[in-house]
């Protein structure tokens, strides 16, 4: 599984050749530098470590400075490992959006937007309790019964309730690559992608 690190820029839409209006997410992807090659013999598993996005040297720890110096590159902000990369790459190699072609289907991983403490309707898709008429009130977004009565006399573990929502790692599969602008390292992916503008995403092939 090959991949690249990107940054979500925003969304837009355009008319394609068939006259269909295509909504798409603009992602600034790469260029990523290979900063470490992990092998079965040395590390117990094989992976490729990619780094993306410039960072000031003064904001980089000495340890990381040394790590980036090994790959003969400048300090980077985001460092991610990709397991079982399809193409063989060496230390210091640069990976760009050329990895993908228009029409490819990719998976995108991102950190979804944090929603704070949410009830069960938003968090788990419950439909609430009761109607709005016949004297009912205050129950429209309630979770309903949590379980049976004296047997088992407790709420079973894993019962879905309200709580912190969003802000998790999310992967969206099979999104189409609609356009690639290699000169600006931009890739356009059909539909939406998890995360806020400016957040990092992984595009996997």
């Amino acid at each position: 599984m090959s991949g690249i690190i990107g940054k979500k820029i925003g969304m837009t839409s355009f008319f394609d050749a068939n006259g269909k209006y295509v909504p798409c997410t603009v992602i600034e992807a790469g260029p990523c530098v290979v900063t470490q090659v992990k092998t079965n013999e040395k590390d117990g598993y094989s992976a490729l470590q990619l780094s993306f996005d410039e960072k000031k040297e003064k904001n980089t720890s000495s340890a990381m400075k040394g790590h980036f110096a090994l790959a003969k590159t400048t300090p980077k902000r985001k460092v991610v490992e990709f397991r079982s990369f399809e193409e063989a790459k060496n230390l210091g190699d640069v990976i760009t959006v050329d990895l993908f072609v228009e029409g490819d289907f990719v998976d995108v991983v991102g950190t979804s937007k944090g929603k704070g403490f949410q009830g069960v309707v938003k968090r788990h898709g419950f439909s609430g309790v009761g109607g709005s008429s016949h004297g009912q009130h205050d129950r429209q977004r309630a979770p309903g019964s949590l379980g049976a009565s004296s047997d088992p006399s407790r709420v079973l573990p894993g019962k879905r309730m309200g709580g912190r929502t969003g802000g998790n790692r999310k992967k969206v599969q099979n999104l189409e690559v609609v356009k690639i602008m290699a000169d600006k390292n931009v890739i356009l992916i059909k539909g939406s992608v998890p995360g806020a503008k400016g957040s990092y995403v992984l595009i996997e092939k």
């Binding site: 820029i9 839409s13 600006k184």
Partner: protein, 121 residues
């Protein structure tokens, strides 16, 4: 808006060939409609009550009164289905969005027309 997003939107915008028009103008939009494999052109004319967004996502809303019922239609400027746009009247308005027209009918819903001679001089 981010500069990069701005650039991308510019790249996605087809070259515009439509005449200039703004909110308050009366326009006729010739819109291509596909029926099976036949294509015909439908006209929709009315007052432009807003122009929204820019570049690839730009659109405009045309309002007309049809059989006493207000009808509004939103067209994307970049739509390949717009055959042409004719400007029939240039209106004088003080606002960019003319939503107040929705609450008005008849005489009070009229828009003063700009005198064309001034433009030529």
């Amino acid at each position: 808006m981010s500069l990069l997003l701005d650039y991308v939107k510019k790249q996605l915008t087809p070259e515009v060939k439509h005449p200039k028009f703004k909110a308050g103008d009366t326009v006729t939009v010739h819109y291509k409609i596909k029926e099976g494999d036949k294509e015909r052109i439908q006209q929709f004319s009315g007052v432009v009550i807003q122009r929204k967004n820019e570049k690839a996502t730009a659109s405009f809303t045309v309002r007309k009164i049809s059989n006493g019922v207000g009808v509004e239609r939103i067209f994307p400027v970049a739509s390949p289905f717009i055959d042409k746009i004719e400007t029939n009247k240039v209106g004088v308005v003080r606002r960019a969005k003319l939503f107040y027209l929705r609450a008005r009918t008849g005489k009070s819903a009229r828009i003063r027309e700009k005198i064309q001679n001034n433009e030529e001089a």
